[in-house]
Structures are given as C-alpha cells and as structure tokens.
C-alpha cells in the first residue's frame, strides 16, 4: 500500500506514505504514531471484519432458503451471535471514529496530530488484541458463543460454550473505544487552529466530538457488566444468577445502559459525514449549522436515557415502560431536525451528482425508514406485537446498515482521493450504489414484513406461510452482496490503477481539501489561521 501515493509527482513535500519514520516495512505501520497511518490500520482490519460479518450473514440467509439442510440449529445460533459480535463491536462501533475520525478530525481542525499519539497507537493495539481474543473464542473452549450479541443472563451463565473469552475480548475492545474517545475529545478541545472557533468546526468534527463523549461515559458500564459475567462464570458470585438472588432484568438494564447509547455511537459519526458531504455537492452553506451541531449533542444526551425501550416485555414496571417510550419519542426530534436540514440544504442548491452525494441520499432515505419504524416499535402497544420478531432486525439494519453503513460508504467515496491520492471509477461507483440500494430494500423490507406477520427472530426454521418472504429476503441479500463486491472491487482497482486525484476534486471548503493528496506527514507546513466557517465556498473561489 505504500506505493499507492503520488510517488512520481513532483510535490514540495513528501506524503505520509513515503515518510516511514524511524521504522521500516511493516513496523513503520504497526508502531507508527501518525494519526493517518493509524487510521489506515483501522481501515484494513475493520474492513476485514466487515467481510467476515457479511459472509456469516450470507450463510444465515442461505439457511433460510432451505432450513434444516444446510446447518444444525446450534450452528445457526453461533452464526447470528458471531455476526452480531463482529458487526457491532468490531465494525460498526469503531468504524467511522477510528478510521475517519483519526484520519480527518485533526486535519479538519488544523492540527498536526491527535492530542495523545502514543495512546492512539495503544488504542489500535487494544482493538487488535480484543479482536484476536474474540476470534480465538470461536475456535476454543466449548465452541463459539451462542447467546446472541447481548449475552443475556442467566443463559450466558449456564451455556457451556466459550462465553467468558468472547466477553473478555469485547471488554478489551471497550477499553480501546474509551481511549479513542478521550483522545478525540481532548484533541477537539486543545488542538484547534487559531480562529477555529466552535461555530466554525466542520460538522463531522461536531459529530465525532459528541460520539466520543458517549464512548467515554457509557462504555465503562458495559465493561463492568462484562467483568461480572466473567466473575459469575469463574467464581459463581451470584450477582445476575436468580438461583442466588441475582436479578437477570438488572443485567438487561446494565447491558442496555451501554448498548442503546452505542447505537448512537454508530449513527452520529455517519450523520457527521452526511452533514459534511451534502453542502459540498449542493454548493451551498449547510442549512441550520448550529441546529445540526446541537441536535447531535442532544441525541447523545437524550439517547443515553432511552435504554429501557429494549425491555418493554421484560417485566419492568409500567411506569418505566411509559417513561422510556416517551423519551424514545423525544430522541426522534433531534434526528428529524438533521434530516430536514439536509433536505433543506439541497433545496435550491447547485446539485452536482457524484458518488458521495448518492450515498448520502441513500442514507437519508434508508435512515428515515429506519427512524420511522423505530417509532412504531417504540410505542408500547405495537411493541408487544413486534418484540423479538424479524421487524426488529429489519428496523436496526435500516439504521445501522442503511444509515451508518451507507454513511461509511459515503465517507469512503468522499475522502478516498484525499487518503490515497487516486480516484476510483465514478460511473462504476454509481452503478454499485444502485445495485446495493435495490438489494438492500428487497432484503430488509422483506424482514420488516416478516416481522409484521409474526416471524420470530433468531429462529433457524419457519412455518410454510413465511416461505415466499424468506425467499425474497435471501434473493435481496444476494443482490446486496453483488453490489458490495462491485463497490469494493471498484475502490480496490482505484487504489492501484485509478488516475491521480487533485488536491480538491470535489471543491470542498474544509481544511483537508486545502492540503496535498495524500497529505504530508504533519498535514500543514504552517498551522493555518481560520477566517471562515466550513462551508464558505465563495471565499475558496476568490482565493483561486
């Protein structure tokens, strides 16, 4: 990968690919303190885990094509558990903050690196360690975990499979996440260039900043919960074991105190990407800058208080049900503010259709479906009917994949020329986008319908009446995967064979577009002075 940069081009300063620091070869990557190299390290591994998660999901759908012939029920249980653990903890939570937060947040605020470069490297090492432990847990002990990614007690305390090791891996991943959060919050507070005031910050920085706070504040709660599962398994402490007076519902509370805000750790950074990309391709200042920035903080704050909506049928009190349902409806308000602002930004803009914008439009469409289905299940009466059906995975795939996933793909296509100094084939990217969008909706809308008709989630088999919808979903999953392959093949080809990218191919006004592609090691020769906000395209044109 070191050769992908603009090797031959004559530039006054060498890119961070060529400046390998004091180490050579692989060591110049895994021991680097450069935030851009660390971002790319995450990029490689997050993508590797994304592909394994996709493969697991592919086999789950294949099972539904002909239940009972392809795998045993226990295998299916392991598949959905691993698909969940890998996708949530190894891909979706870290993806945007660690890859693009690391790479672009310092550049966007006019800094040379993050506040704690060594801790940044440590975070990556913890990520790799946690990931390796999770992978080991699949092949050792009593076999891969089969509890679902939620590790609900008391089943996770009783099952003979390798739960403690997987849980320990996730604990280490949590430490990595906390350290990344601390690093990026401190960076945003301390390393902004002169003149980079809070209301001139690019909205991507605002989003990563809000996300980092959530990471710092709620990850420790799942940390202690996971430690307690391990304690329970090895010492029989009894804290979640009903036989010893423990309360499994309290486990669910502790789990969701983290894991619901974690869904905002997933979606907020993607919203930041959308807020950065849309104005560039509408050639217009973003509509409601402060409203978007503050609504991100509001989502982070209110989103931390809605965890009980995962537990409407668990037996918690009616009062708690009503309160959590109300708070769930409240959190829809800041989310909707963002959606309206993006649409208003496009209104009467000089829209340029390019791949990053298309992925943003897909985000807005899919996230809206995900958000509105979320409100349906957030109301108490429909939740009784929809709880634990296919509706739920249908809904959260619209949010996580349709929202965060397409946001991530938008980020790929937007920042690719800056990161690698080359451009992919734009026409092909648009084709891949169309294939994915079609496949996605066939796949996950069938899941929503299945759930509406009562198909329970996590079952390895189904009644005959669900057959046609299951076939449709599996068919859609193939189209979606075809689109993914097309997109990644196109990006991969662009990495090696793509034409050289200009410094500012999209005409962006944020700082990363004012430096060479790929950036030099210290980003800026001289720390820039900031005189305008992130969407001042006029000023850019005047400067030539």
């Amino acid at each position: 990968m070191t050769s992908t940069g603009a090797m031959e081009s004559i530039r006054p300063r060498i890119s961070f690919y060529e400046d390998h620091g004091k180490y050579r070869g692989i060591l110049s990557w895994i021991l680097t303190l450069d935030h851009k190299r660390i971002g790319l390290l995450y990029f490689i591994f997050v993508m590797a885990f994304f592909f394994s998660g996709v493969v697991l999901g592919f086999f789950m759908r294949l099972q539904m094509l002909a239940p009972g012939t392809i795998m045993k029920p226990q295998t299916y249980n392991s598949l959905f558990t691993l698909h969940g653990i890998i996708m949530i903890f190894l891909v979706v939570i870290p993806a945007i903050p660690t890859i693009f937060g690391n790479f672009f947040l310092p550049i966007q605020i006019g800094a040379r690196d993050v506040a704690f470069p060594r801790i940044n490297l440590l975070s990556w090492w913890l990520y790799i360690t946690g990931a390796i432990i999770v992978v080991i847990s699949v092949f050792t002990g009593g076999g891969p975990p089969d509890t679902g990614w939620t590790f609900y007690a008391p089943y996770s305390l009783r099952t003979t499979v390798n739960v403690p090791l997987a849980v320990f891996g996730v604990f280490i991943l949590g430490m990595s996440s906390i350290l990344t959060g601390i690093n990026l919050v401190t960076t945003t507070h301390r390393l902004r260039a002169p003149g980079m005031t809070w209301n001139r910050l690019p909205l991507f920085v605002w989003a990563i900043y809000s996300t980092s706070w959530v990471q710092i504040l709620v990850t420790p709660v799942i940390g202690i919960t996971l430690i307690l599962i391990i304690m329970e398994r090895f010492f029989g402490v009894g804290v979640f074991d009903p036989a010893k007076g423990g309360d499994p519902i309290l486990y669910q509370h502790m789990f969701w105190i983290y894991s619901h805000p974690a869904t905002y750790i997933m979606i907020l950074p993607a919203m930041g990407v959308i807020s950065d990309v849309v104005p560039v391709f509408a050639r217009k200042r973003i509509f409601g800058y402060m409203a978007i920035a503050i609504s991100g903080v509001a989502i982070a704050a209110v989103g931390s208080l809605v965890w009980g909506h995962h537990m409407f049928v668990s037996g918690q009190s009616d009062f708690a049900d009503i309160l959590f349902s109300l708070l769930t409806f409240l959190v829809a308000i800041p989310s909707a503010i963002k959606v309206f602002n993006w649409v208003a930004t496009l209104y009467k803009g000089s829209i340029v259709i390019e791949p990053p914008l298309l992925f943003c439009l897909a985000f807005i469409f899919l996230f809206s479906i995900g958000g509105l289905t979320g409100l349906i299940q957030g109301a108490l009466a429909p939740n009784m009917h929809l709880h634990d059906t296919y509706w739920i995975p249908g809904h959260f795939h619209y949010i996580i994949f349709g929202g965060m996933g397409f946001g991530l793909f938008a980020a790929f296509h937007y920042w690719f020329p800056k990161m690698f100094g080359r451009m992919y084939n734009r026409k092909m990217a648009m084709r891949a986008w169309a294939v994915m969008l079609v496949g996605f909706n066939i796949f996950y809308f069938s899941m929503l319908l299945l759930g509406w008709e009562g198909m329970p989630r996590r079952y390895y088999d189904y009644l005959p009446q669900f057959r046609s919808l299951h076939l449709t979903a599996t068919f859609g999953s193939w189209i979606l995967i075809a689109g993914l392959i097309l997109m990644f093949a196109n990006l991969f080809r662009g990495l090696f064979k793509g034409e050289k990218a200009e410094d500012n191919p999209w005409g962006g006004a944020t700082l990363e577009w004012q430096i060479p592609s790929p950036p030099p090691t210290e980003n800026f020769e001289k720390i820039p002075g900031i005189r305008h906000g992130p969407h001042d395209f006029k000023e850019l044109e005047n400067n030539g």
């Binding site: 620091g21 004091k22 303190l33 040379r112 690196d113 506040a115 704690f116 470069p117 801790i119 906390i178 959060g181 601390i182 690093n183 919050v185 401190t186 507070h189 301390r190 390393l191 710092i216 504040l217 709620v218 990850t219 420790p220 709660v221 940390g223 202690i224 919960t225 430690i227 307690l228 304690m231 010492f235 029989g236 402490v237 009894g238 804290v239 010893k244 007076g245 423990g246 309360d247 309290l250 509370h253 502790m254 105190i257 090691t521 210290e522």
Partner: protein
C-alpha cells in the same frame, strides 16, 4: 519517528491537554464503579434485612484502619507533588515511597480481612455462603467484587508510582515537568474517593 518529529511533539506538549485527558479517564473510571454502585443500591433496596445482617459481620476496625491508611497516602502523594514543584527531588521521592508503602499496607490489610472471611467459609459459591439467605449471598458477592476491583486499582496505582519514582530518579520528572506525577496523583485520589464510598456502604450502614 525522526528527530524533527520528536521536536514537534516536544514543542506541542500540552499540559492542560494532558490534565484534561486524565480527568476524562477518571470520569470513565467513576462510571465503571458507578455500575457496581447501581447494583449495590438495587440489591440493598430489595434485601434490606439481609444486607443489615451481613454487613455486621465485617470488621469495622479493619475497614476504619484501611480508610485512615488510604487517606494518609492521599496526603503523602499530594505533598510529594508539592515537593517536586518546589524542586525538592529527594523529599518528593521519599513521600512517594511512603505513598507506595501505605498502598501496600492497605492491600495487606485487605488480604488479611479476605483471608479471615475465606477461612470462615465465606467466599463466592462456598457451601457455607450458599446455605445462607439470597440477600447475604449478594452482599458478600458484591463485597468481594467491589473491594477486589478497588484493590486491583490500588495495585495499579502502586505500579504507576514505581514508574514515577524511576522517572524522578532519572530526572525526567522535575520542577519544570511534573504533570505525569500530578496525573498519577489524580488517579490515586480517585482510588481514595471510591474507597470513601465503599467504606460506609459495606462497613458502617447496618
């Protein structure tokens, strides 16, 4: 990292930033223990009588002794930081060693207390404990996990201080550059303040 880059880092060293990072870390530590405190309150609310009986079995004298030890160690680390700021390197090192000794004394005391309990057959999943009421099982389960996790933090603190001791001896930490020691002190005060909550919850409220 070549020399030029090293120089940039040196130049960019930001003490306020380092402190901010430490405070954020402390915040996340507080929430880690916060999860345990939630469990404690939940179970205490459900089993008030059992918690009452179980907590009377703990040695208040040992708990009080440990509280005094830990509070004194917080004083000694604070004075150690003050000493290095005034350029009194030797005094700072002596006070730091005193802090470490007090930390180890705390652990020894705790180990002795645990040992006595285990000798009486009270430890997680023991037949004696399982024969008791559910609230008492929970009380001792929480007691072992919470004081154990706290003890682990004390141990980590002592290790961090030994690194600081070496850095002071080598002169890396000095009158001009003492923020790492200050941050280690902040961590130690966190360990202290958590104990200040554990102590009444387990030993005093009956």
């Amino acid at each position: 990292m070549d020399e030029a880059k090293e120089a940039v880092f040196e130049e960019a060293r930001d003490y306020t930033g380092a402190k901010l990072g430490m405070w954020l870390f402390i915040l996340s530590e507080l929430l880690l223990f916060g999860g345990m405190f939630i469990l404690y309150s939940g179970y205490r609310y459900k089993n008030p009588a059992d918690f009452h009986h179980a907590s009377r079995e703990l040695e208040v004298v040992l708990g009080t002794l440990n509280t005094i030890i830990l509070l004194t160690s917080s004083l000694s680390v604070a004075t150690s930081i003050a000493a290095i700021q005034k350029g009194q390197r030797k005094l700072s090192m002596v006070l730091l060693m005193a802090t470490m000794a007090l930390g180890l004394l705390f652990l020894a005391n705790k180990g002795f207390e645990w040992g006595t309990k285990i000798e009486h057959g009270i430890y997680p999943n023991s037949p004696t404990l399982l024969a008791r009421s559910k609230g008492e099982i929970l009380f001792f389960g929480l007691y072992y996990v919470m004081t154990g996790l706290h003890g682990l933090h004390v141990l980590v603190g002592v290790c961090v201080f030994s690194v600081m001791l070496i850095l002071i001896a080598k002169g890396t930490l000095n009158q001009m550059r003492f923020v790492p020691l200050e941050n280690a002190g902040l961590y130690w005060h966190l360990v202290d303040i958590i104990w200040i909550f554990l102590y009444p919850l387990f030993y005093l409220i009956t």
